[in-house]
C-alpha cells in the first residue's frame, strides 16, 4: 500500500471515529442520523481503498443511503405522534 493510500485511509479512519462520536454525543437527533450515515460513507470509501468495490457499493447504497432515509422517515413519524 503506497504512502498516499495509507495516509488517506488513516484520515478516513479518523473521520469515521469523529462522525461516530458526533452521532453518539450530538444534541440534535437529525444531526446524529446524518453523522451515522457519514460513518457508512467513509467506510465505503475505505472499502474501495481496501480493494473491495462490491462491498463498497453495498455499504454506500444500503448503509448510507437507505438506512439514513429510513431513520429520517421514522423520526418524522415519531415527531408527528408527539405533535398530535
Amino acid at each position: 500500500m503506497s504512502t498516499i493510500l495509507f495516509s488517506m485511509s488513516l484520515l478516513l479512519a479518523a473521520a469515521m471515529v469523529a462522525s461516530a462520536y458526533v452521532a453518539l454525543q450530538g444534541k440534535s437527533l437529525s444531526i446524529a442520523v446524518l453523522a451515522a450515515g457519514a460513518v457508512s460513507l467513509f467506510a465505503s470509501v475505505m472499502f474501495l481503498i481496501l480493494a473491495a468495490p462490491d462491498v463498497a457499493m453495498t455499504e454506500a447504497a444500503i448503509g448510507s443511503g437507505l438506512t439514513t432515509f429510513l431513520f429520517f422517515f421514522v423520526l418524522g413519524r415519531v415527531r408527528g405522534v408527539k405533535d398530535d
Partner: protein, 233 residues
C-alpha cells in the same frame, strides 16, 4: 459509576485485543488454498470476469438463496406488522407537506436515471463490481426518492409482490435446472458461457443476478411503501 467502570473495562479489553491483532498483522505474500482455486479456475469454470460475482452466484449460490430468503422473510414481516396500521383511504388525512420545487424537479430528472443505473449494476454483475443486491438497493432508492417527493404516492402492492414472487420462483427454477442440465444446484453452465467479458456471457449468471436484483429491489420498495403508508398513531 459501576456501569461506567464496566464500560471502560470492556473498552480497554477490546482495545488491547485489537492492538494485539494489529501488531501481529503481517500481509499475506500468497493467496491461500481456496482463494488460489477461485483465482485460477473461475474464468474456466464460469466465464465471469468478476470473481466475487462468480463466488456469490455459482460457488456459493446456495448461501445466496438463503440470504434472499432472509430478506424475503424480513420484508414479509415488515409488511405484516405494518399492514395493521395501514390507513384505508390514505390520502389527505394528514396535512400534506408539499415537497420543495427543487426536490420535485430533481427527482423527476433523477428517478429514471437511478432506475437505469440500478438495472445496469445488476445486469453487468458478472463484468463489473456490484450485482443483484447492490442494484436492487439502488432501484429501491429510486422508490425512496419518489416517496420523499410525494409522501402520499401509492405503489401497487400487487405488482410489487407479483414481481417479487416470480423472480424468486424463477431463481429456484434456474437452480433446479442447473441440477438437471449441468453439474449441480445453481450451476451457471445451463446456458452457453459465451465470449469472456461480453454482456451475454458467463452462462446463467446475468439471468440469476437480474432476478435477484428485481427481487431485492421489490422487497426494499415494498418495505418503504409499507412504512410510508402507515399512519403514525
Amino acid at each position: 459509576m459501576i456501569k461506567k467502570f464496566i464500560a471502560l473495562w470492556l473498552l480497554a479489553g477490546f482495545g488491547s485485543m485489537f492492538v494485539g491483532l494489529l501488531l501481529g498483522y503481517s500481509p499475506d505474500t500468497a493467496l491461500n488454498h481456496t482463494a488460489r482455486y477461485y483465482a485460477d479456475n473461475t474464468v474456466a469454470d464460469t466465464g465471469a470476469a468478476n470473481i466475487v460475482t462468480a463466488i456469490i452466484v455459482t460457488y456459493r449460490g446456495l448461501d445466496t438463496l438463503g440470504e434472499v430468503t432472509v430478506l424475503f422473510l424480513t420484508a414479509t414481516i415488515v409488511a405484516l406488522i405494518l399492514s395493521q396500521a395501514r390507513q384505508p383511504g390514505g390520502v389527505g388525512s394528514r396535512k400534506a407537506v408539499a415537497a420543495g420545487e427543487l426536490l420535485q424537479t430533481g427527482s423527476r430528472l433523477l428517478v429514471p436515471l437511478i432506475l437505469l443505473f440500478g438495472a445496469y449494476v445488476f445486469v453487468n454483475g458478472h463484468l463489473t463490481p456490484g450485482g443483484g443486491f447492490q442494484g436492487g438497493a439502488i432501484v429501491a432508492s429510486a422508490t425512496l426518492l419518489m416517496l420523499l417527493t410525494d409522501p402520499f404516492r401509492r405503489f401497487s402492492h400487487r405488482l410489487i409482490s407479483v414481481l417479487e414472487s416470480i423472480s424468486g420462483v424463477l431463481f429456484v427454477v434456474i437452480g433446479v435446472l442447473g441440477l438437471v442440465l449441468a453439474g449441480g444446484f445453481l450451476d451457471n453452465r445451463i446456458l452457453p458461457l459465451g465470449a469472456f467479458g461480453t454482456l451475454f456471457s458467463a452462462g446463467a449468471i446475468p439471468v440469476i443476478y437480474t432476478l435477484i436484483g428485481l427481487k431485492v429491489g421489490a422487497e426494499f420498495s415494498s418495505m418503504m411503501a409499507s412504512l410510508s403508508e402507515t399512519e403514525g398513531q
